[in-house]
């Protein structure tokens, strides 16, 4: 069973490695969206510091949503997704593997880029550390919840925009606690409570989301 999970993840990592252009698009999207905000709002460091955490987090949500359709669409089109559902392992593992692969491929890079963006927004070092930590806990939730949406919208017309409509409201708690953790650090009240709540959401999502994503996959494939 674990073997199957690792195979799914390994396969997606390899596919992403072979198509680096696709992979980079999502990261550059993240950087560009974040960089647009100072241009629109003005270079005043006090304002930027205030909006920085929120801007980075909202952009991370959008970047995650943008890359989600790729999680399953290619496999669906060439039929390999159907084959993977036919193997004698529970589909939950497939759904979990896909979500984890998405996190490794698209979530981790966001985390690694974020310090540079934090510097752009004049965030102090401790706030940047918390920003990375909050993204580390928060981005797997985005991938897990997003995998439900990606499975539901598989092969539908207007899939990308539809996915955004379905999933963005569900991302609200992650955004609040993720950006809130950095805000709390800036305000000097400590980020522990926010990060703990984010961790609790991660545990809950990890327990529930793969099952629902697997059920959604079965609904969409039939």
């Amino acid at each position: 069973m674990l073997n199957f999970l690792l195979t799914v993840i390994h396969r997606d990592l390899m596919l992403a490695g072979r198509r680096r252009g696709d992979w980079l698009t999502s990261q550059f999207f993240f950087v560009m969206v974040v960089s647009m905000f100072p241009l629109g709002i003005g270079p005043d460091p006090v304002t930027l510091k205030m909006i920085g955490p929120g801007v980075v987090w909202v952009s991370a949500l959008l970047a995650s949503l943008l890359s989600l359709p790729r999680l399953l669409a290619e496999d669906y089109r060439d039929g390999s997704l159907e084959q993977m559902l036919l193997v004698p392992h529970p589909p939950v593992l497939l759904a979990l593997g896909k979500a984890l692969a998405h996190w490794l491929i698209y979530g981790i890079p966001l985390l690694l880029i974020s310090p540079i963006l934090g510097v752009q927004f004049a965030l102090p070092a401790d706030a940047i550390a918390i920003l990375m930590l909050s993204l580390l806990i928060g981005t797997p939730i985005l991938s897990l919840l997003g995998s439900v949406g990606a499975a539901l919208t598989l092969g539908l017309r207007g899939g990308g925009v539809l996915l955004t409509l379905l999933i963005l409201p569900l991302y609200v708690p992650v955004l609040i606690f993720g950006a809130g953790a950095v805000d709390a650090t800036l305000a000097g009240t400590g980020a522990e409570s926010h990060l703990s709540l984010l961790g609790a959401i991660l545990v809950l999502t990890l327990l529930v989301a793969p099952w629902i994503a697997a059920a959604a996959l079965k609904v969409s494939i039939e």
Partner: protein
Amino acid sequence: MALNLYYYASPATFYQLSGKLIPWFGWSAAILTVIGLYISFFMAPTDFQQGEAYRIIFIHVPAAWMSMFIYLVMAFWGAIGLAFKTRLSFMMSRALAPTGALFTFIALWTGALWGKPMWGAWWVWDARLTSELILLFLYIGIMALWAAIDDPQRGDRAGALLTLVGAINVPIIYFSVKWWNTLHQGASVSLTKAPSMAKIMLIGMLVMAIAAWLYTIAVALYRARTLILERERNTDWVKAQMEK
């Protein structure tokens, strides 16, 4: 006598039964609305703090109640449909969604109209307002998913799954917004302290709430009937029905 639910779960039986029930629900909703509006405009006293503007509560509170309750009922029917594979449950879920979205919108709109004279702002990022807004987004997302899927069976089950995910999320969203709000700004506006209300005001509100319930049942049944006709159009009983 045990009530045979499976008998009523058949679309053909349900179609006949709901046809008989709709006028009852519809008319009692209309009559109660008139009574409720009469109580709220002529019998309820003017509030000593808020003046006449408070009277919007008679629309606002029932709409807000319905917006949340209908979502739960949708999730309930979705779960029943997924568990028992009953076609009618999914149709009820679909039939309720537009009314739920409508009440959410009314609650937001009347809230804004009420907020302007009371707080001096059309909109504040209060926990209740924000979670109601996100509830509207959830309704819209579910209806968009249904609209995008042409195959009714796939649409039914996909929509039910999304409704259930939303139902798990609604409490989390509510509390996160609440904490976010109290952490960001001092709770300048508190809606949670219920003012001790005159009895007649409470009665007016309850009458309006019951009217909203009956209205919801009537239109949901009507929409479900339309869905049944659309989906069962190739069956003999629908053809016989149409020839009548």
